[in-house]
């Protein structure tokens, strides 16, 4: 309930202003973070049911879940904060290309990662419940591990882009157009 309350509070704050998302990558990072928080915490509540825990406990589902919460929530929210605050401190901005690459590779990568491990982990758990030989659960999840690798690679590449962006916001050359400017102008007139 506190999760849904907190998420609803944030999302309702955004009401009528969802269009601003398109102008502000920091806001999009925060937005994904809130969605990650909402979905991950709700998922955690369901995992606490004993009937579901009997399937998912000790499987790769848990790994997907923890990435949804730690990565999809905390990391995205932190990135949003860094992209919003660091330019204010240094007066330098990262380029739209760098922001876009980081955001979309991280979003798509973590989505693939979480979905593949959720499905693969469920299959693992059901294999065990069905009393199949243990090695069958290893064979059955392998395709999902390949997808996890694809997602993980995208996430890793996005981190390199993040490092590049941080460098541009601190020591490197600033982008010509500060991305936050339009948003501020908008707020002044609102």
């Amino acid at each position: 309930m506190p999760v849904w309350g907190g998420s609803a509070n944030f999302l309702l704050t955004m009401r009528g202003r969802l269009g601003d998302l398109a102008h502000s990558y920091p806001l999009m990072f925060i937005f994904v973070g809130v969605i990650g928080y909402l979905v991950g915490s709700t998922q955690g509540t369901f995992e606490a049911f004993r009937s579901l825990q009997e399937v998912w406990h000790l499987t790769n589902f848990t790994v997907g879940h923890s990435h949804l919460t730690m990565y999809g929530f905390i990391t995205f929210a932190t990135w949003g904060g860094v992209y919003a605050l660091l330019p204010l401190a240094t007066g330098k901005a990262p380029g739209q290309l760098g922001l876009g690459l980081h955001f979309w590779m991280a979003v798509v990568g973590s989505f693939i990662y979480v979905i593949s491990l959720s499905i693969g982990g469920t299959i693992q758990g059901l294999d065990w419940i069905h009393g199949l030989p243990f090695i069958q659960s290893v064979v059955d999840i392998q395709a999902y591990w390949v997808w996890r690798g694809v997602g993980g690679l995208l996430m890793f590449l996005s981190h390199i882009v993040f490092a590049w962006n941080v460098w541009r916001m601190s020591f490197g050359p600033s982008a010509k157009v500060a991305p936050l400017a339009p948003l501020y102008a908008d707020e002044v007139t609102a």
């Binding site: 009997e54 406990h57 000790l58 499987t59 790769n60 848990t62 790994v63 693992q124 065990w128 419940i129 069905h130 009393g131 199949l132 030989p133 243990f134 090695i135 069958q136 290893v138 064979v139 392998q142």
Partner: protein, 339 residues
């Protein structure tokens, strides 16, 4: 400034309270848990092996906790607090990419198997994704006196020389073989109340699921359906309990594990020897003219009569074997005779 003290002090106090409640107090309570009956401290070598286990991150993929659930019965009885008396910090693990190791010293007691598997897991379990720990072995021209080379299958052995475990591997295997669950009074080794029941209904349901999907279910051969033999279940039980050594094709590994294909006991009209071997294990016996050093574990405490009959019938009807089928009642008779 006062606010800063309040914020920093307050959050520190909350953290300290939580650490006390969730870490310190349970730690004190657990340290007072007496060792379970039969739980003994590790020897110096086993303790060293435990360090190797930790250093190589074995617990990232292997748990050491058996849950009181039907699907965990293959790993032993449910873990009890006293089991961990000499295993601090406990290596419970949080994920089973590989199987649970709580009772691996009983399930896979063969030192030779452990060495082959550690050197290259694919040599004994073709589908395994476990990393090869071959750096814990030395490749030498000749085995030094007193050392026994690991009998690797040709496909996995180095082109020249012999493979000898180094000290790390010896310590690790000593630790793995020390992982044995002592029986708790009133609890059978499969975790249910005495006496030994059949396999859980979940396992039976799974086996029938496997029956409908298995593509390579062997033809029943000489075993008639009337004997209560379930080919798919027999195959699943064989894969879980026997294939690691005797291999899925029944041929074992030359020099390490005997072949069941064309084996005299498996094709003998009198199943006594085969039943007794599965029930009580076998060690240091000459099979088909070859002396095998590694012990076969006793499955009497791990499997029900019906399961053992299913496994034996699977072996007797697969890979060209033509043994007569056995029944669970026949297994029960041999079990009653004792060792």
């Amino acid at each position: 400034m006062n606010k800063l003290v309040l914020i920093a002090g307050g959050s520190s106090a909350v953290f300290a309270c939580l650490a006390l409640l969730m870490g310190v107090l349970p730690g004190i309570a657990l340290s007072k848990t007496p060792p379970g009956p039969g739980v003994v401290p590790l020897t110096a070598l086993q303790d060293e092996g435990r360090e190797v286990y930790v250093a190589n991150g074995c617990s990232y993929c292997h748990t050491q906790q058996v849950r009181p659930l039907a699907q965990d019965k293959i790993f032993g009885r449910p873990s009890a607090p006293g089991d961990f008396a000499y295993q601090t910090p406990e290596l419970l693990g949080s994920e089973r990419t590989g199987p649970d190791l709580t009772n691996v010293g009983v399930r896979q007691a063969s030192t030779v198997w452990q060495y082959i598997h550690l050197y290259n897991p694919r040599a004994v379990v073709p589908e395994s994704i476990m990393p090869a720990f071959d750096w814990m072995f030395q490749v030498l021209d000749h085995a030094p006196p007193g050392a026994t080379p690991v009998p690797l299958p040709t496909a996995y052995a180095p082109k020249h020389g012999v493979v000898v475990p180094d000290h790390q591997a010896e310590a690790l295997v000593a630790y793995l073989l020390s992982l044995k669950q002592p029986t708790l009074p009133g609890v059978s080794s499969d975790g249910s109340a005495m006496p030994m029941p059949g396999v859980s209904s979940a396992t039976a349901a799974g086996a029938s699921t496997a029956a409908s999907t298995a593509e390579n279910t062997p033809a029943s051969g000489s075993v008639s359906a009337a004997s209560g033999y379930d080919a798919a279940k027999g195959k699943a039980l064989f894969t879980t309990n026997c294939a690691a050594c005797h291999q899925a094709n029944g041929e074992g590994l030359p020099g390490a594990f005997p072949s069941l294909k064309g084996d005299a006991a498996v094709n003998d009209a009198d199943p006594t020897a085969q039943i007794r071997t599965v029930l009580n294990g076998l060690q240091g016996r000459n099979v088909g003219g070859v002396a095998y050093s590694s012990p076969m574990p006793a499955f009497g405490d791990m499997l029900s009569d019906a399961d053992i009959a299913n496994i034996i019938d699977y072996e007797r009807s697969s890979w060209g074997n033509v043994g007569t089928p056995v029944t669970a009642a026949r297994v029960a008779t041999e079990r009653a005779k004792g060792k």
